[in-house]
Amino acid sequence: MRAARLVLGAAGLLLLAAGVRLLITGSPADAPRQVAVWLAGAVVLHDLALAPLVLAAGLVVRRLPARRAVRGGLIVAGCLTLVALPPLLRPGEPRNATALPLDYGRNLVLLLAATALATAAAAAWRRARRPGPGSPGA
């Protein structure tokens, strides 16, 4: 175990160094600094915006009935939205008629509606399957 960990860790450090070297050599001189800014930006955006938003949503959801189904639905809806963002936010016309050919806004709305329906169905199914606190045998 110990030897395997050392080998794995050393391999990791080697790949990491290779990546940093690729980033520094052969790129325009200011590329490494720009990439560092974007790396930090990604962490800041996640740690100080996205994650707190999700945790706040979690605080609300845990007080709801059928919270597990709602949480599942929100995870699906959130991920679908993130995947739809690049085509939605990209400025300018697509490069040609075959690039970004779909109505992404409409499709996202349809998918979010379908997710809401599936969430409601999952919640109803769970409730039907599980006897309530007032029913015999509970």
Binding site: M1, R5, L6, L8, G9, A11, G12, L14, L15, L16, A18, G19, V20, L22, L23, G26, S27, P28, A31, Q34, V35, W38, L39, A40, A42, V43, H46, L50, A51, V54, L55, G58, R68, R71, G72, G73, I75, V76, G78, C79, L80, V83, A84, L85, P86, P87, R90, P91, R95, N96, A97, T98, A99, L100, L102, Y104, N107, L108, L111, T115
Partner: protein, 371 residues
Amino acid sequence: MRTFIPFRGRLHDARTATAVGRWLGAGVLVCFLTGLISHGLQTPPGWLAPHLPARPVWGYRVTQGLHVATGIALVPLLLAKLWTVYPRLYVRPPVRSVRHALERASIAVLVAAALLEVALGLANIAQWYPWPFGFKRVHWALAWVLCGALLLHVAVKAPQIAAHWRRPAPGTDPDAGERRSLLLGVGAAVGAVTLVTAGQSLTPLRATTLLAPRRPDGTAQGLPVNRTAAEAGVAHVSGAAWRLQVTGPRPFHLSLAELRALPRHRARLPIACVEGWSASAWWEGVRLADLLDRAGAPEDAFVRVVSLQKRGGYRVMEMGPHYARDPLTLLALRLNGEVLSPDHGFPARIIAPNRPGVWQTKWVRLIEVLR
């Protein structure tokens, strides 16, 4: 664990991190390996170029389709993993020892590289480049950083991963039901984002392609296009004036009519883009090998193909003998039963098996036998 902010929620634990993390790790590895394959096929180092295989025909289609589909599936996995370990960001005291500081620094690198790498990929497939640096080089370099930081992370956390690899015995874990529910939600998200995007390369999912950047059955002769004739500055090529020039021991040139009179072959080959979309089509044209024989090219010769296009980084293409001599490699004149449209490379384009789309050179004017 003590943190600066109290986290009372459940599932911020090692078992959940392991359960999500192993799928995330597997996904990152798939992306790294398929990325290596793509890089090797697209910009092979000199020692590799003569050995690139023309089989399987669908090789690049599958590996690159998998690369992008897996990258999209990483969105829920990565965010779920980061959510699980998020309280650790506020661990008290922030630094306990040199070892702890190093570990936290390596995790910062891992998280930053993972977030940016996935984001760059997602934006790239939508052909959106809001950053100031070159996508290809940075996505390539960050892949090594990410994979390295991941291996290091697994090495550091190996005891915890091993301890939490298996589900706790039934009845001993109060969070089991809660965790199963969370993992079900994350799994559903992976399924959902895959279902609505993978159809751009996986034909059976065509009907549910709701958020993919491409449809496999794009409008132009049934195939998507990346660089149009107008973009490449070759919108008005006259078939009557066009000549194909072939250099080699016995150089020659052909008019379009002469080229059409040569023995024709048909091949069903996919066109597969680095951006993840792909589609198969029927191509008809002259075997490249026949043209090379006519020029007296040696069997093991490399070939350079030059396009008429005025703009773009893929104007000049080279291929090794495995591709050039493959009976399926065509100088195609027709696509799905019709003369090539300008956007698909009229009057003639290369189509070869197991190659990235950018090297399926369109608007060919010159074929050079090298060495």
